[in-house]
């Protein structure tokens, strides 16, 4: 089980958290200007690296706030958590 450090509550076990996928995916500034291909990229395409990954977590069973984490998808080691866009 992962031990995740919520920036608000401190270290807690993974089962208190929900996963939100890739971090730093901004909503398009002008959605009407996007082509179907660009819209598909926004909706369905996310990075899927084998290595360091910036991702969203929510402390569902705690403060219920969203934050970001940097985690290695090979080792599952979380090197940092931080408040990011939308937090």
């Amino acid at each position: 089980m992962l031990i995740i450090e919520c920036p608000y509550c401190g270290k807690r076990t993974e089962d208190e958290f929900g996963y939100g996928g890739q971090a730093h995916v901004p909503y398009p500034e002008d959605p009407h200007a996007l082509s179907d291909a660009q819209w598909a990229q926004y909706l369905f395409y996310r990075d899927n690296p084998k290595g360091s990954y910036r991702e969203r977590w929510v402390h569902s069973a705690g403060c219920r706030k969203w934050f970001n984490a940097v985690r290695d998808t090979r080792t599952y080691e979380i090197t940092s958590t931080y408040l990011g866009a939308g937090s």
Binding site: L2, G21, A40, Y45, N48, Y53, T73, R74
Partner: protein, 406 residues
């Protein structure tokens, strides 16, 4: 259950050649899908100068880590066609490949625990029947008759309200399926090359002309990717993305027991699935771990959740010992359906995104992918599963609909 003859040891089943410099087609990924694709390329299309490149050992990835369930009770027409084609091929596979695979059509129950489950299940039964797939709705007493050790009492948190039943569904011995395909492909001239990691691609403009590996550069103007959870790592090397997220999926087996569990039982709602292997282990699994990962391991609390659901449904399991657990890396798409077809790179084809359900599709997907590679156009079976459906919006949303959550 009668003891049947065991097949030969795998090391006698295929050649281990050095890679040649040029092939008519290269398949990246020596799992079930890659081996089946190579076999059908040779058998159906006469293309035998084929190399299957495997980073580790043959069928050592998800093919070695799945729970071997075979069924075709999918909701949507496109999926039903793919999985039913596969099931029909499974039904003749031991004869076709002349090899024991312990294909056992013991049936699958997909349990319903809520009124919404019941409605969705009955709808799926009717959808299956319209597609010519055997399916029936069974009440709790019939569930008990099909699987006597199941608890249909009202005292548990989510009592069994009924189930869908597909009698033709079943299980097979996954390793032997892979070895059977490998043996036949090798006999027909396919080179199966293990310990061969793809490190890049040779391109001529927007065409692929070869594959760079740790065993040298191997040339071909047809390259099929069948690398499951690692497909997006490969497509990144080729300069394009696929809408896939790779997740750990855990499974486990108990110690050996007498044969007590005569069918396959799956529950989407409390989320566990169970069958009993031929030797007697209880084989169990559930959904994917939530986060992205390539670690081929998971977390104990996921196992704990599976076990609490399993013990409520099967009180007899409470005294069973866990023998081993493992994780596979599954490639999940946003509509929970696979991606198979052409890519932005000419001559490169992709077969991925099977999520938690790739094993059952091996024969049908291999047939369709071989056709796609041979003719540079999709087979009717995989035409709906093209990469461009994410742009056109023609998604095939099997989330939950296929009787399992991804």
């Amino acid at each position: 259950m009668s003891q049947r003859d065991l097949p030969q040891h795998p090391k006698f089943l295929w050649h281990n050649p050095e890679p040649a410099r040029h092939y008519d087609a290269i398949i990246v990924g020596g799992g079930g899908h890659g081996l089946a694709t190579a076999y059908y390329l040779a058998k159906n299309h006469g293309i035998t100068r084929v190399a299957v490149l495997e980073r580790g050992w043959l069928a050592g990835g998800n093919m070695a880590r799945n729970t071997t369930i075979i069924r075709s009770n999918y909701l949507w027409d496109e999926s039903a066609a793919m999985y039913e084609t596969s099931l029909k091929l499974w039904e003749g596979l031991e004869n076709e490949l002349d090899y024991e695979i312990f294909f056992s059509q013991r049936g699958v129950l997909n349990l319903a625990h809520t009124l919404q489950d019941v409605r969705e299940s009955v709808r799926r039964v009717e959808a299956n029947r319209l597609n010519g797939i055997d399916a029936e709705w069974v009440d709790p007493q019939q569930v008990k008759e099909l699987c006597p050790i199941i608890n249909i009492g009202q005292e548990i948190r989510y009592p069994v309200m009924g189930a869908t039943y597909q009698a033709r569904a079943g299980i097979a011995k996954h390793d032997w399926v892979a070895w059977a395909y490998a043996r036949r492909a090798s006999e027909m001239g396919v080179d199966l090359i293990q310990n061969c990691e793809v490190q890049g691609f040779v391109m001529d403009g927007d065409k692929v002309t070869g594959v760079k590996t740790n065993r040298g550069t191997i040339y071909s103007d047809k390259v099929g990717l069948a690398a499951a959870g690692h497909t997006s790592v490969l497509t990144q090397l080729a300069g394009f993305r696929v809408p896939i997220q790779s997740h750990p999926l855990q499974a486990l087996v108990s110690e050996l027991h007498d044969i007590i569990h005569p069918t396959v039982v799956m529950s989407n709602h409390v989320h566990v699935y169970v069958s009993q292997a031929h030797k007697g282990e209880l084989v169990m699994g559930a959904g994917v771990d939530p986060y992205n990962g390539y670690g081929q391991r998971g977390s104990f609390h996921i196992i704990e959740q599976q076990m609490s659901a399993a013990v409520e449904l099967f009180p007899a399991f409470a005294r069973a010992h866990l023998l081993r657990t493992w994780g596979g890396i599954v490639d999940v798409t946003l509509d929970a359906s696979p991606i198979m077809g052409l890519t932005p790179v000419q001559g490169m084809y992709v077969n991925c995104g099977w999520g938690t359900g790739g094993f059952k599709a091996v024969p049908g997907a291999g047939t369709a992918f071989a056709h796609t590679i041979a003719h540079d156009e999709p087979h009717p079976l995989n035409e709906p599963f093209a990469l461009d459906r994410f742009e056109t919006g023609a998604l095939i949303d099997e989330h939950g609909a296929s009787a399992v959550a991804h």
